[in-house]
Subunit: 246 residues, 2 copies
């Protein structure tokens, strides 16, 4: 998948503002069937830029050594036109599932086996720099996930019957970035592919390996995923509050 053999060399190893050392992958190959519309949702305009640009720019601004974005087939040209400009940024065609897209993006990443890779949803535009920094630092032992405590009342159900209430103190709502040592992520993707396992996030694949310490890092700022058109208004509100210092 590395179509440009110069990419790793071209990368400008910009010193991170926070002294962080990490690479990034952005799975954004979904067709957004829940969202509707002609263009995929990741190119919808948010605060004057494509939705996807926000996630990518925040990763670059925090000092990512490289950012590989997986896109739907046919969207690479548009992305080059609308997002490119930073030599650390590149685009690949994603796969039919999230983890296939992560696998293709990883194959195009110049990160070394011991480097940290932050996988971050392209549809989460409001990532706060301190949150990114915290999850990258927590991953120094191998793996860490940004998320939040669960505030809802979650029940265990079977056949439409409620069996019990889960202890919220033992629950964590996973978001992204999810950060892993490259070799662990690679191993986890291969094992999932071998076993035909499809997870809802990357950590689920790494959990299956067993024996890996995955740190749960609580986010300080909201960064909801834009899934439906109305989520874009909420995202705009969050970005506006940020600018107002909120």
């Amino acid at each position: 998948m590395v179509e440009d053999p110069n990419f790793p060399q071209r990368a400008r190893p910009a010193a991170s503002p926070a002294g962080l050392s990490f690479h990034a992958l952005v799975p954004a190959a979904g067709r957004g069937t829940r969202y509707g519309g002609a263009r995929p949702k990741q190119f919808r305009s948010l605060a004057g830029r494509p939705l996807l640009a926000h996630a990518v720019e925040r990763l670059l601004a925090a000092g990512a050594a490289s950012v590989v974005v997986a896109l739907p087939e046919g969207e690479l040209e548009a992305a080059e036109r609308e997002l490119a400009g930073d030599p650390r940024l590149r685009f690949v065609v994603g796969g039919p599932t999230r983890q296939a897209s992560v696998g293709r993006a990883l194959a195009a990443s110049p990160a070394a086996a011991a480097d940290l890779i932050a996988v971050h949803d392209g549809a989460r535009p409001a990532l706060a720099a301190p949150d990114l920094e915290a999850v990258v630092r927590a991953a120094s032992a191998g793996a860490a996930v940004l998320g939040r405590p669960v505030t809802d009342t979650i029940k265990r159900v079977e056949g439409g019957r409620i069996l019990a209430t889960l202890d919220r103190a033992a629950l964590f709502r996973a978001e992204t970035p999810q950060v892993f040592r490259r070799d662990l992520l690679e191993q986890a993707l291969l094992a999932a592919e071998r076993d035909g396992f499809v997870g809802t996030d990357e950590a689920a694949l790494v959990e299956r390996l067993g024996g890996i310490e995955i740190r749960a890092v609580v986010a300080s700022k909201p960064n909801p995923k834009v899934t439906l058109p109305e989520d874009l208004a909420e995202a705009a509100r969050l970005l506006g509050a940020e600018e107002a210092g909120g």
Copy 2:
């Protein structure tokens, strides 16, 4: 707690539009410390009426035989002024916890032992009539809870470490109304009080009794709880979309 002995008799036994037969309790005695402001959040204006009025009016419109609202001490006069008018509606002073408030409201409810009682959050203004109807009907066996599937990735954690991903298909996010036969709810509240158990919802108390079938009913429309000031804007949007037929 029944300060007005005529209350049950005064109640206008309006035939429910859907032929439903139920009573309602609305715990709204929280001081809303997460919300801030001078007045409790349940009296904040939403679409020209107090937030609390929306939940109450929807229960009445669906044919509730009675609605007992538990309020913070000192707010009863304001509630009488701003919400009263329907003879099926009455107010009581709530307790220090949600379940204490539900207990006090239940004590003031004219419902008979075999009647169904719908407990509904005063801060959920957008209850859809078909959802209320569905959860009341599902409770005919004794108990039912309105809620939604879990779409987030939920992890089991311990000491800040992620242990596993929970199977979303076996999870249910509980909301309200939660509907119970009066005798079951009463029994559950007494058992919790005896054991010093505090739950995050009423179903958690009924689950503890064991052997009760509690049906999980999936809501058709969103009805988020207003917890923070920004939630009020989202609620206004939902009510606006309803009026526009959305």
